[in-house]
């Protein structure tokens, strides 16, 4: 074991991408529910929803890009490379899932 072990705290990154997807879903669902309950005008409500979605996409995309550029480094060895690749792919999957599941619905009638 000449390499440095990957700290256990790094394992949370495995969940980060889809946790952000969950955050986007919950935030959109909540803002939509509150907006409809309080009869917010549809234009600002739709814009608010789009901003929530965009903000999450930016965060996921930024993490994805940062991870893609980052090298796990030789210090962490084979395990580090494995976990790095898995985390990057979960970010990719979360990014695509966020666009596909949460993007098109925003075009629908807002509170019907």
């Amino acid at each position: 074991m000449s390499t440095r072990p990957v700290p256990p705290a790094q394992l949370w990154w495995l969940a980060a991408g889809f946790a952000l997807w969950c955050s986007a879903l919950v935030a959109l669902y909540a803002v939509h529910a509150v907006g409809c309950a309080f009869a917010w005008p549809s234009g600002p409500l739709r814009l608010g929803l789009a901003l929530v979605l965009l903000m999450h996409l930016v965060v996921i995309g930024w993490i994805w890009g940062s991870l893609q550029r980052a090298d796990p480094g030789p210090d962490f060895g084979r395990v580090g490379v494995f976990l790095h690749r898995v985390v990057v792919w979960t970010m990719v999957a979360a990014f695509v899932t966020t666009i596909l599941t949460l993007g098109p619905p925003l075009l629908l009638t807002i509170c019907m």
């Binding site: 969940a15 889809f18 969950c22 939509h32 395990v79 494995f82 098109p104 807002i110």
Partner: protein, 845 residues
């Protein structure tokens, strides 16, 4: 007292090592069996008990098929039918599917990961007894005619006092919650064991894929069960104490129950599926004669599946009146969840396509799985499309879909696993004369039964109906469905006969009859209670080659821990990611405490069921007391420092290690607890935004002064816990800090009780008061549990079980009190903000 744990002297008989280990690890005869804590024993008990409930649930299913085989049948009364179909669903889901998954996890996981047992053997045993007693309560209710009768998902208001005034719904709420306690304890155990108790060198990239599946499943259970437990508690308190969480006339909302139920219910499908997928990913490469293709892609897809499965709970509620835009989120999610599932299926097909597959009974069942799961998946995508779901909702089409997905995805891989690991359980190989006809009977029967349900559902037959007139075009399809059900039942009967025959007449085998690559085959068959005489060093993986030489080397004690020491049940704790040896984990020996604790818990459940509330309180206190008592026999009575574990490596015992399993167990317990708390906050906000009859007539003004006292007391308690830990490390007085923490918690509890007493509207009058009281009670209960931690600390300090090096207890207490402080401040802030939130409701449309 210490004995070197290095390799035994050359020429020392391996047999002696086995005898010594067997003496330490064995479960005693006779009544001592009730004290068993060994994972093999408990795992097999889980599996056997789950099969018993499967048989009972299967018979109930057949009774429904008899009733529906012909129109206007008088086989059962409507009241009996309601109990029978409700118990069929409840048993199959809560008493068979989930416990079967747990049983397989308990039995197999340590063996595949190269450990001698799970991290918390007494908790495993407690989980089993809770399951058994909870299941017995539900079954007993069926026998005396007061079984639940409101459907397996117990929708309100049908399950409320108004429409179900008897104890039927209480039996479900209390019995299932009891069983869920078992599931939650095992979830924490599975997660910690996979992360910490693996063979040295088994880094995460070398872990058998089954480990990834179980880790993810365990984490899903940690997050999925609390919403159901919370929902059950809220509904039971509504039924028992008239708190109107789901009563729309008093500010509650029946849909809150559906949200809480399906926040559990949808992930539950994947909680059942993922371990089965883990089994398939383990078995298919063996029969394909090649490594699993796409290990990393599968890991990514498991993680994706776990999260997405949570995010689509609303697809069970497409018809309740949610706006289209919100429905579309869940519709798209429900369709996209097929992608990570498909990644796994294509990885299995690619493994088979690129290997040299051989045909055997487990492969027959895997073929059956592919066929059935593909059909179930396709109808799942159909139901994900909102307009189709509106047509098919609550029809037999949905019943067909759920059986294809849940029953097919569980039953066929489970039977494949049974035939695959039967040599491990029994040391005998299959005979196969009955195995193949049994498969075809089940396969044909299954498809005949449930495929017809698609058709009868599309013809408009609603689910849960007691009978039909015969002029709707449903008769022949129902009859065929019932015939199929009996064919399937005969198939399962043949499987039972086949298994019994194999246990008696099967050819004896010694090791690895399939040419597998996982570690469970590197042990004698059937496995001894300690699994491995010594623990292997994993140099390659994840398809670690198991061969005769490795097995014999381990049996000779040439791996880690190849010696018996101090009468301890030892296994190795490793670094989570690298798998480097980190600590010597000394496990609990057989004890009756788990049984007694489960009996006390059962007494609490039964007393609640019969409305004997003082007895309930006494039984709860007894349960808590037994947990504190169990803590007094945990750990080691002195410091040992690094101890040799073999291969020239020395590690401290877990009591002196920083990342000991109990520390991680508390972390994941708090994750579950936090999910429950979040669900409670969600419930309050949901009622605020959606429930009728808000705002209430009176709006309370919480006593800010009392709230400040509570927060300050919790801060004092948490700070005192930190001071105590610091004092222990510096050799100072710890008891004073503990005393201060106790005082802080007592003041907090007293202030909380006054706050709860002052809630207006009264908790029985309006859901606003009920949710405010629930939030404050949550904090009070956590402060009470914090007291138990502190009392245990004092007792263990007195017994010499805590020292500057053995500070785990105080670190656990600090963690608990930090959590209590954090949730306490959030809950208090939320309760203080409620009047302002309610004031906003004037503008609600």
């Amino acid at each position: 007292m210490n004995v070197s744990a290095d390799r035994p002297a050359r020429g020392s008989p391996a047999l002696r090592l086995h005898r010594e280990l067997a003496a330490i690890w064995a479960t005693g005869p006779g009544l001592q069996r009730l004290a068993a804590v060994n994972h093999s024993v408990i795992g097999l008990r889980f599996i056997a008990t789950a099969f018993v409930f499967f048989a009972i649930g299967g018979v109930l299913g057949m009774l429904t098929r008899v009733q529906l085989a012909t129109p206007a049948a008088a086989f059962m009364t409507p009241e009996t039918y309601n109990q029978v179909f409700t118990m069929h669903g409840s048993m199959m889901l809560f008493l068979f599917a989930i416990p079967m998954v747990e049983g397989i996890a308990v039995y197999l996981t340590p063996k595949l990961l190269g450990a001698r047992d799970f991290a918390f053997p007494r908790l495993t045993a407690y989980g089993y007894w809770c399951y058994l007693f909870g299941g017995t309560i539900l079954t007993g209710a069926l026998l005396v005619g007061v079984a639940p009768d409101g459907g397996w998902f117990m929708y309100t208001p049908l399950s409320s006092n108004v429409y179900t005034p008897g104890v039927n719904a209480d039996v479900w709420l209390l019995g299932v919650t009891f069983v869920e306690i078992s599931a939650l304890t095992l979830a924490v155990e599975i997660v910690v064991s996979v992360l910490k108790l693996r063979a040295p060198g088994m880094s995460l990239d070398r872990m058998p894929i089954f480990g990834w599946y179980m880790l993810t499943t365990g984490l899903m259970m940690v997050a999925a069960f609390p919403p159901l437990i919370l929902g059950s508690i809220l509904l039971e308190t509504e039924r028992a104490f008239h708190l109107p969480f789901f009563d729309p006339t008093r500010g509650g909302d029946p849909l809150l129950w559906q949200h809480l139920f399906w926040l559990f219910g949808h992930p539950d499908v994947y909680i059942i599926f993922l371990p089965m997928a883990g089994i398939l990913s383990t078995i298919i490469p063996v029969f394909a004669n090649r490594r699993l293709i796409g290990y990393r892609a599968i890991v990514v897809s498991i993680i994706a599946l776990a999260f997405v499965s949570f995010g689509i709970w609303v697809h069970h509620m497409f018809t309740v009146g949610i706006p289209h835009l919100a429905l579309a989120f869940f519709s798209a999610g429900s369709a996209i969840v097929a992608v990570p599932t498909a990644v796994q299926i294509f990885a299995w097909l690619a493994t088979l396509a690129h290997g040299r597959p051989r045909w055997d009974v487990p492969m027959l069942y895997i073929f059956g799985f592919f066929f059935i799961f593909a059909l179930g998946g396709l109808t799942g995508v159909m139901l994900a499309i909102v307009p189709f779901d509106w047509q098919a909702h609550d029809s037999y089409f949905v019943v067909a879909h759920l059986h294809y997905v849940v029953a097919g995805a569980l039953a066929f891989p489970m039977l494949a696993a049974l035939y695959y690991w039967l040599p491990l359980l029994s040391g005998r190989m299959a005979v196969h004369r009955l195995s193949v006809p049994a498969f075809w009977l089940i396969f044909v029967g299954f498809n005949l039964t449930f495929f017809m349900m698609h058709l009868v559902g599309l013809r408009g037959m609603p689910r849960r109906v007691f009978t039909y007139t015969g002029d709707d075009g449903w008769t022949s399809l129902n009859l065929l469905s019932s015939v199929g059900g009996f064919i399937m039942m005969i198939g399962f009967g043949v499987v039972v006969i086949d298994l019994l025959a194999q246990l008696r007449y099967g050819r004896r085998v010694r090791r690895d009859p399939w040419g597998a690559t996982t570690l469970e085959w590197a042990m004698p068959l059937p496995p001894p209670p300690y699994n491995f005489a010594s623990i292997p060093d994993i140099a390659r993986g994840p398809d670690y080659p198991v061969n005769r030489e490795l097995a014999l080397s381990l049996a000779r004690g040439e791996g880690y821990l190849g010696v018996a020491r101090n009468g301890w049940q030892e296994t190795l704790g490793v670094h989570m990611t690298s798998g480097a040896p980190e600590q010597l984990v000394v496990l609990s020996r057989p004890t009756f405490l788990p049984l007694y604790t489960a009996l006390a818990t059962a007494a609490a459940v039964l007393a609640m069921l019969f409305h004997l509330y003082p007895l309930t309180l006494a039984a709860v206190l007894a349960t808590v007391g037994l947990f504190v008592l169990a803590g007094q026999s945990a750990g080691l009575a002195r410091d040992y420092g690094p101890m040799p574990v073999g291969h020239g490596v020395s590690v401290p015992p877990h009591t002196e290690a920083a990342g000991a399993p109990p520390f991680w167990a508390l972390i994941f317990t708090l994750v579950a607890d936090g999910t429950l708390f979040t669900s409670l906050v969600f419930g309050t906000l949901y009622l605020w935004i959606a429930a009728p009859n808000w705002p209430p007539a009176e709006i309370f003004a919480p006593d800010v002064g009392l709230a400040v006292v509570v927060a300050a007391s919790l801060i004092v308690a948490a700070a005192a816990a930190r001071l105590g830990l610091r004092a222990l490390a510096g050799g100072g007085m710890t008891r004073g800090s503990i005393g201060l923490a106790i005082l802080g918690l007592l003041v907090a509890i007293a202030a909380l009780l006054r706050l709860i007493g002052g809630v207006v509207p009264r908790p029985t009058e309006h859901a606003l008061g009920a949710t405010a009281a629930a939030l404050l009670t949550y904090v009070a209960i956590h402060a009470g549990i914090g007291l138990c931690f502190l009392v245990s600390n004092l007792l263990r300090l007195g017994a010499g079980l805590i020292s500057p090096r053995r500070s785990l207890d105080l670190r656990l207490t600090r963690l608990w009190l930090d959590y209590t402080l954090m949730t306490g401040v959030i809950a208090l802030g939320f309760v203080l903000a409620l009047p302002a939130l309610v004031a906003m409701l004037g503008t609600r449309s």
